[in-house]
Symmetry: C2
Subunit: 264 residues, 2 copies
């Protein structure tokens, strides 16, 4: 397409603090959502309750109509859940869809600077706002179930007992979020201290500064009692690949140059 | 006190799905919140916007009045943020406090069973509902800043340049959430498949089942360019301790016996 698609900046998704860390580009936002093992989904349960609530859910960005769409193109957010849960009941009875927020965040490092005030994390976070409705088309539902299962472990769908039977299809519900806006925030690089501290030898002589990288590790697969097979390739290669990727990402984040705004 | 304190079960926090995984006990709920490097905080930005939103924030449970209170006693949730952010402005102008939801979740393992429908995570998750107000007492604010800083790396507060100066104190705001209710959900153990699949040799002969443990790893601390010191003990011991704890927890979760409800 030759140009980068971005989400519109509305009051609800515009980043006001550390604006240089913000992104409205579809690509990085969708990628943060897809790399997140748990999505935090918030919604308002009803007029009698003042509190929004948050559910941890599993989901993925995708396009059923254009399955080859890449991450920087307009996509829906598919979320998976149980048929009679509260969020599903609310979405089912809402004509235009249930207004929700989907959030994902990941910590890549602890940024330890001279003073608590300038401590930070290296992180990637993203939110989407949109309207959630139940997927009623059987083919789209199956397609989304496969998409979500394969996001947990690549190729897992074809390496398990599929297709789901009638009871399994009716107990699982897929929500599709029509995305209205979104934003992401990414922080990487090293410590950022103010001159009043970096030029104070009493302080620099006794406070260690730097970054502790943080990443998610997958351990050796532990077979179940009833398991009859060796660990198959789709699992061992997934574990090895994720461990290499996650560690490299956290370590690479440390070495990124800080933007001008944070160079004191 | 001789008895276990629990949060009241209201419609907003009662777990209806997999009830045997639910807990309302203050101890485990507060512990999941405190072990979480990022808390997801949701609130409604205003009447003109239909979507609740979610902010990733850093926070800790604690009691300023009874600082020696243990995790299973009534505590407030202290959250840290920037003075002019939207959530702070809303909390500042709200007489009884801003209604919010605080959520934390952690994945301990991928539970890979015979059919996608019975796939799961080992996880710990918790939510709190409550009213957020700004901490105005200077001593309580300092106490909460220290509590939160030390939750990132133990003893970091005293090993950095403190106390914060006037500008630092006024740019940072601490929210205190008066908790109204809460609940937690914990899943551990191995795979749980239905008899229709475990007794189908065509399926058990080609599908691997078991758990892939997942945990958070801290890497070697990377010193900043300006750093003048060796890695101090409070950091190296924190990294070593967390790495041992996190891995042990994920591996232990695998071996927990499944409750009767999930033994097919």
């Amino acid at each position: 397409m030759g140009r980068k698609l971005t989400y519109p900046k509305r009051s609800s998704n515009t980043v006001n603090r550390y604006k240089h860390r913000a992104t409205y580009d579809l690509g990085p936002i969708h990628s943060i959502i897809n790399d997140s093992k748990v999505l935090n989904v918030s919604f308002n349960p009803g007029a009698e309750d003042p509190f929004p609530t948050i559910l941890p859910m599993i989901g993925q960005m995708g396009s059923f109509d254009y399955p080859s769409a890449s991450l920087d193109e307009p996509l829906g957010c598919y979320l998976h859940g149980y048929v009679s849960s509260r969020i599903m009941n609310l979405a089912r009875t809402s004509a235009q869809g249930l207004p929700i927020c989907v959030a994902a965040s990941r910590v890549d490092g602890l940024v330890l600077s001279l003073t608590p005030n300038s401590h930070s994390y290296n992180y990637r976070s993203a939110i989407l706002h949109g309207y959630a409705q139940l997927v009623t088309d059987e083919q789209e539902k199956l397609w989304a179930m496969k998409l979500i299962t394969n996001s947990v472990v690549a190729d897992r769908w074809d390496n398990s007992r599929v297709p789901p039977d009638r009871a399994e299809m009716s107990s699982t519900v897929i929500l599709k979020v029509r995305v209205v806006d979104g934003s992401g925030k990414i922080r990487d690089g090293g410590v950022s201290d103010e001159r009043k501290d970096t030029e104070n030898e009493e302080v620099t002589g006794r406070v260690w500064t730097g970054v502790v990288p943080v990443w998610e590790t997958y351990g050796e697969p532990v077979p179940s009692v009833g398991n009859e097979m060796a660990v198959p390739e789709h699992i061992s290669s997934f574990v090895a690949k994720k461990n290499t990727q996650n560690r490299a990402l956290a370590e690479k984040a440390v070495s990124v140059a800080l933007p001008l705004e944070e160079q004191h």
